[in-house]
Structure formats: C-alpha cells, structure tokens
C-alpha cells in the first residue's frame, strides 16, 4: 500500500524545526495524531477520528486549536490608513469591536493571503493571516508578530454558545463577527464571533499560559476536541476557500466568487488596478461547487467537464460526512455552468458523475442535535 501526500498536510519545503502551540502537550496527552501544517506541528485528529469530530461540530460543539494562525498587532494613529490602503475590504463598512474578512493581493490581483482583521479599538487591530503567510503579511502591513505570546482556540457548532456560556458567559452573547476584550479567570483575552466551519461559534485568543486551563474548561463543558482533518472537511462542506487551493497567487478574489471582499469604492489598495481591469473585461474562470454520486471523493487536481462546455479543475474535494457523497470546489472556465448542470469529474481512478451545486453544501445548524440525548 502506498499513500499520496495528505491533502491537508503539505510537506515542508525544507527541514526547519516545527513550531508548537501552547497546547501541544495537551494534544499529545489526548492521543492526537499530529501533522505538519504551515510549519507547525498541529493535531490532525484525536482518537475519535476525523469523521466523528466533524459530526460533533455539526451536531453539538467542537473545539479546535488554531494557534498556527498568525496574529499581527497593528496599532497607532496610522494603523487604520495602513490597513485600508493595503487590504481589499473596506474597513469603513465596520468599526471598532468588529471583525472583517479581507484579502492581501499582489500587483496582478492574485491572493497573497486571505485573513481576518479583528478591530480591537480605535487605533488597534489584530490581523490574523494563514500560518505560512504571516511573514508576507507582516512585510506588507508592518506591525508586531504576537503569535508566540498567545493561543487561539475556536469553539464551533450549533451548541458552541451553550458550551461557552458556562465557561465565559460574556462570549455566549457576542454577535456574529463582533470582537470584544474579556477577562477569564483574571486573564485578559480577546473573543471574536468568527470561525471556519460554517457553524456558529467563537474564537478565543488567550495568553499562552492560560491556554491549557481554558481548553480543559471548554472540553469539560462539552466541547469535543477536533483536529485539522475535521477543520478541512468542515470548511469544504461550508464552501469556504482554503489558501493554496481556492485562493493563491494567480487566483483573484473575483475568480473565487469573493467580489464582496473588495472595497471597490476605495481609491487604492494593493492589486486594485489589476482587479478593476479584470472586472471590466470579465473573469475567465470562476469557482463553483460540485456534488458527485457515490462515496468516492473527487480530489484536488481532478479535471471537471460540464455539459455546458465549461471545463476546469478541482481545487478541493472530499467525502462529505454529513451528505454521504463526494463534494468539491472547482475553478471552471466562463461561462460557468449553472446550478444543476451535469458534470463529469475525471480522476486517475476513473470518472465520477456529478452536478454543479450551490455552496455552502450544508446550512449552519442543519444537523443540530440536543447534547442531552445520550447515544443508544
């Protein structure tokens, strides 16, 4: 038996020491299987396994260590202008105490990174890039890389708020995409109503020294530890892009269907000219959802041909634990096929038949199941 490289664990290009979150010993003691992700050694799954962890997040509440995401603190009187003139989204749409999803582009309009900005207060922002892009983002924005000083845990699922209510009650009432400073056991932390699973939930940044007790409190309150394997299948079911797959240099926000991430009325941001030109002439390819018949998963790199004549390539594909069949995101040529158009996905293992589908593939809370019901 031979195994291809795991889709969620790209191999490091050179042997550098792996970084660890403040929770690494906790993960090991829980029996986690670890993987290299973006230069960090992080939990891929716990003994329950990726599918059980995925289901826990869809039905109840799951907790993820996402400390590998970078945190770059940008502050001072020039901070707002620096972010506003560099990143695509318009900070004028929000204000202090809110979070915003945004992109950092190159001059060709390709996505250097997709990230979340937590607007903490007037002149203070925490910018959260993908692990492997933190230095690129710091280079573009300046600011201070505070990644080493804190851990970030994501509590996600239809019962995430009821779980967090017994641990950090204030967080349970935090609105979607709000950001607030709170205190947990005399320790300052920052909580945001954000996540990457398609479910409701919060993300909590705590000083590294408080990471283990916070994690244990959340698990004791009913959250199921979940690894990066489940995080990847969850985000795919939710139709959310992953940098390096649906986004990257050579792929623009418009091609990814994320025109809403662009503040078109802003006079300048990096990559604006290329993006405005692309919008004027029309995109040549577009990201679509695909569902396939049967359990065999479509995979990144598989070819897609639609009955309409459009063709392209799968950027991410897997088995959907909740739907019981294959799902994929694919970049296909314009005119992109309408929802319901039949497609054939050509894999080196044979063809899969499928259909263009709207994303997300599932709805938030669709599989919520009261945690009080014990399994049979």
């Amino acid at each position: 038996m031979t195994t291809e490289p795991p889709a969620v664990a790209p191999a490091a290009s050179e042997p550098v020491p792996l970084r660890h979150s403040a929770l690494i010993e906790e993960h090991v003691s829980l029996g986690a299987k670890l993987t290299d992700f973006g230069g960090w050694e992080m939990p891929l799954s716990y003994p329950a396994g990726t599918i059980a962890e995925h289901r826990a997040c869809r039905t109840g509440a799951a907790v993820f260590d996402v400390s590998h995401l970078g945190t770059v603190r940008v502050e001072g009187p020039a901070a707002f202008d620096r972010l506003q003139q560099t990143l695509t989204n318009d900070l004028g749409r929000i204000g202090p105490g809110r979070a915003q999803y945004t992109h950092l582009l190159d001059d060709d309009g390709g996505v250097v990174d997709d990230l979340i900005v937590w607007w903490l207060d007037d002149e203070s922002f925490d910018v959260m890039p993908n692990a492997s892009n933190t230095s690129a983002v710091t280079g573009a924005l300046g600011g201070t890389d505070t990644t080493e000083q804190r851990a970030v845990v994501a509590l996600q699922g239809p019962y995430a708020r009821s779980v967090v209510r017994s641990v950090l009650p204030e967080a349970a009432d935090l609105p979607h995409f709000a950001v607030a400073s709170m205190t947990w056991r005399d320790t300052p932390c920052v909580v945001a109503g954000t996540g990457y699973t398609g479910e409701d939930g919060v993300e909590i940044a705590v000083p590294s020294g408080s990471a283990v007790p916070l994690w244990r409190a959340l698990v004791a309150a009913g959250a199921v530890p979940a690894g990066l394997g489940a995080r990847d299948t969850l985000r795919l079911e939710a139709g959310l892009p992953l940098h390096g797959h649906e986004l990257g240099r050579g792929i623009t926000p418009l091609q990814a269907g994320l025109g809403w991430v662009v503040g078109w009325d802003k006079p300048s941001f990096r990559g604006r000219e290329a993006l405005v030109a692309e919008r004027a002439r029309g995109v040549e390819r577009r990201l679509v959802g695909v569902t396939t018949v049967g359990r065999r998963p479509p995979r990144a790199g598989d070819l897609v041909e639609a009955g309409s004549g459009s063709s392209g390539v799968v950027t991410s594909g897997n088995f959907s634990p909740m739907l019981g069949h294959g799902i994929a995101l694919a970049l296909v040529s314009e005119p992109a096929p309408a929802t319901g158009t039949p497609v054939v996905v050509t894999t080196r293992r044979g063809p899969l038949t499928g259909t263009v589908a709207t994303t997300p593939f599932i709805r938030a809370g669709q599989f919520a199941s009261p945690p009080s019901t014990p399994p049979d």
């Binding site: 396994g49 394997g229 065999r296 088995f319 293992r349």
Partner: protein
Amino acid sequence: MDTPEDLRYSTDHEWVRVAGDRVRVGITDYAQDALGDVVFVDVPAVGAVVEPGGPLGEVESTKSVSEVYAPVGGEVLAVNTSLAERPELLNSDPYGDGWICELRPSDPSTVDNLLDAAAYRALVDG
C-alpha cells in the same frame, strides 16, 4: 499496533490469512491508523487475475488516496461487499470484518516469502 501472530504481511502493509487453497487479504492496523478515517474502498472484480505486487484496489480516507497491492498473485475469488456501505470497517476491524478480498494464489508457496508477525512489527517499529 495490533499484529496477529497467525497472519503473514507484505512490506506494503497488507496482511494475508491462509485458509485452505485460498487467502484472505486486507490492510494492517498500522496502515489503517496511518490512513485515518476510510471513506471509500475500491475492491477488485471477482474473477480478475492479479499479478504479485500488482494493483488490487484503492483505499480513500478523508486525507489521502492509497493503492493496495496484491501480496501474492492469483485469481480474485470473493470481495467484501460490506465495504460499499461501511468502508469504516477497515478502521474498526482491519483483520476481521474489514477484509478486502480473497484470492486463489497462482503459486501458494509465495505466501512463504511474506513477513511473519515479528518481522512485520520490526518493519513498522523501525
């Protein structure tokens, strides 16, 4: 890792159980653990003749695609049809209900070329 004494093993992490003139084939506990949650198993066609070391099927997990190789050559006599609906049997019972297929070896003596349990343990612990 569970490595039953009564089985023979390939260096590619398949196991073989001899029963009369046929052998049953699956993947090892080590292999299923490395793969993670199995979501699809492609089994060979009954009646197919496979070469030793040739492709016997594929196992797909949430994280990867893996090829299964024939530990011995021969004719496929039976396949585990339960795997179509329950591929997770490879994880939960790799040496039992998670078997993949049965072969009639074209040369039964080739089974003796496979690793015994101690040698396989040494391979995966190495």
